[in-house]
């Protein structure tokens, strides 16, 4: 036990004396939170909209005002005919246009109904869909409000956004970011630090000493475990104070879940280190093997549900996917432990599996 503590102390010295790496590791979550929280956002703001209406009646005016009042729309041009609209799209002055038919309000009550057309710049298909959805909901709101008995508006479903009524993207990326940072720090840094000893030749020195390989390895994990837990708390603190992301469920359960995920990540790092001989390879290896799957399959950037079945099955072996899913359930939906039991079991089994394999392969290296 004494031996173990002197090893842990040594590892902390390594980490603290490499001050640049430490600063980067501790600031990384802060920078990423700011990037994802304020710069990169899937929400669309500042949509410039043009109104094309042959005549101004009360209903077209009301829709226009309502659009302008919503903070993500700016009405940027009124046209009475279609001719100038094309030019405005090309100039990039507008992103979308609402084109009212002839005698819009009057026809609303007629048998033919009135026509309204939504024209959207779809050079970016994702934003186009979102813009159209936003505009559509405002228009149908207006029509319903003015004339609830109008047939032309049809039966518009009343949409309720559960758990995230404001549709904030931060609700999605905060759990994803936690998944990413923990994997990066635990897996990448442990593997690099083990491989560094091989590269410098000090590993040989440890292997001829009476130290158990297990002691060497476990003590290497301790500083990174502490550090990633600090980062986990930093992210949570920033997310709740700056971005208003709730921790609706139990904080304790979330922390326990994170701890299991941290252990899984550490074991993965150990696995990578036993397969590599140089720090560079370990770094690239963990980048390729860990970061990309986390980015793509944890739902951080793209929803997994929208992927082809093959990729969905593949995502099952990505630990981050399970962690992020469970973290969302706990933080956003506020579900209790029994709803994340499946994720707990999967993550724990992965941890056990990785540790078993990596310890086996670590011992093999000695003979």
């Amino acid at each position: 036990m004494k031996q173990f503590f002197s090893f842990v102390k040594k590892e902390f010295y390594h980490v603290f004396r490499d001050s640049w790496t430490m600063v980067i590791l501790l600031l990384m979550p802060v920078v990423q939170m700011i990037l994802f929280g304020f710069a990169i956002s899937t929400e669309i703001r500042n949509i410039n909209v043009a109104i094309v209406a042959p005549e101004h009646d009360e209903l077209t005016k009301m829709i226009t005002d309502k659009l302008d009042a919503v903070d993500y729309f700016t009405v940027n041009g009124y046209f009475t005919s279609m001719e100038k609209l094309d030019e405005a799209f090309r100039q990039g002055d507008i992103d979308c246009a609402i084109i009212f038919g002839q005698a819009f309000e009057e026809n609303l009550y007629s048998a033919d109904g009135s026509s309204i057309c939504l024209s959207v710049d779809a050079s970016n298909s994702n934003t186009a869909t979102t813009m159209a959805m936003y505009a559509q909901s405002i228009i149908s709101d207006c029509i319903k409000e003015l004339s609830p008995y109008v047939g032309a508006a049809g039966i518009a479903p009343d949409i309720k956004m559960l758990y995230n009524p404001q549709m904030k993207s931060s609700f999605n990326f905060v759990p994803g970011l936690m998944g990413l940072i923990i994997i990066l720090i635990c897996a990448m840094m442990t593997s690099v630090s083990i491989v560094r000893e091989k590269e410098k030749g000090t590993m040989e020195l440890l292997l001829v000493s009476p130290v158990k390989p297990l002691t060497i390895v476990i003590s290497k994990m301790v500083p990174y475990m502490v550090m990633s837990f600090v980062n986990y708390l930093t992210i949570l603190l920033l997310a709740t104070t700056l971005l208003g992301v709730p921790v609706a469920g139990s904080f304790l359960t979330l922390s326990l879940l994170s701890l299991i995920y941290i252990i899984t990540a550490l074991a993965l790092g150990l696995l990578i280190s036993s397969a590599t001989q140089s720090q560079l390879v370990a770094m690239i290896g963990s980048g390729m093997v860990l970061m990309i799957p986390v980015l793509f399959f944890s739902g951080l950037l793209f929803p997994v549900e929208g992927m082809p079945k093959v990729f969905q099955y593949f995502s099952w072996i990505v630990p981050a996917r399970w962690y992020v899913t469970a973290a969302k359930k706990l933080m956003i939906q506020g579900l209790s432990f029994r709803y994340v039991l499946q994720e707990f079991i999967v993550l724990s089994s992965m941890a056990v599996l990785f540790i078993t394999i990596s310890l086996k392969s670590f011992k093999n290296r000695l003979s």
Partner: protein
């Protein structure tokens, strides 16, 4: 026989079809300085790794400090010191932290560590460098420190793998004085080297060629046997028969 702290009999290591070490047999007495010579790729390091319990022999057996290398490697590890050709201390730890760490690894009693550390630093004249990071020390100082750390726990045998590589002649001389002191205290020294002048300092040497020991005796007897003036020439006569490329 009981004076022999290292006994190797037909020790062999194969990697696939390549025989790195080919049935070597020798013994080293307690307190002896045994020089283990050979060209690059002759199999020195592989043989040494087997004796340290790092690598299991394919064939033959060896007993180190009274323990079998195949079955009792954990016992061997407690009784030996090791210093490798690569510099073998932690560069980002301070001098005293390195001593402290290795003392802890080898189970030196807590009470003895501090006084022994001070005595060691005093002997080396490193008192002022106690709190210096090892990477800031000159190479020669690091090597001396590494050797002192390797024998800090009082091992029966210390294995030195090209300990003086890249060090200037002055420091090499000091280093060998330290080796002599250790030998006088009864520590057996097993050392590999490239420098033939260092070979002359050994009590007994063996010269490996292509995985086999081709000559083994005192430096003086070897020179007489080959009828030459220096160890350099002995080595040249033997090494040129080597078929193995580096």
């Amino acid at each position: 026989m009981e004076d022999n702290v290292i006994i190797a009999e037909g020790l062999t290591k194969c990697f696939g079809t390549f025989t790195a070490v080919d049935h070597i047999s020798f013994s080293v007495k307690k307190g002896e300085i045994f020089g283990f010579l050979g060209a690059n790729g002759a199999g020195k390091t592989t043989a040494m790794r087997m004796l340290c319990g790092l690598s299991i022999p394919t064939e033959g057996k060896a007993v180190v400090a009274g323990f079998d290398v195949e079955t009792q490697s954990e016992e061997i590890k407690k009784n030996i010191g090791y210093m490798s050709q690569k510099f073998s201390l932690y560069e980002d730890l301070k001098v005293w932290e390195n001593i402290r760490l290795f003392a802890g690894i080898y189970g030196v009693p807590e009470k003895e560590i501090a006084p022994k550390t001070d005595a060691l630093l005093g002997r080396l004249g490193f008192e002022k460098e106690k709190n210096t990071l090892v990477k800031l020390l000159p190479l020669g100082w690091k090597q001396k420190l590494a050797f002192s750390v390797a024998i800090f726990h009082g091992p029966k045998i210390v294995f030195l793998d090209e300990p003086t590589g890249g060090v200037d002649p002055m420091v090499r001389r000091q280093f060998w004085n330290m080796i002599y002191e250790a030998a006088e205290r009864g520590i057996t020294v097993f050392v590999t080297t490239h420098y033939m002048d260092e070979a002359e300092y050994c009590d007994r040497i063996s010269i490996m060629v292509d995985g086999r020991i081709e000559a083994m005796d005192t430096p003086k007897n070897l020179k007489d046997e080959f009828g030459v003036e220096s160890m350099d020439e002995v080595f040249y006569l033997l090494a040129r028969t080597a078929k193995r490329a580096e």
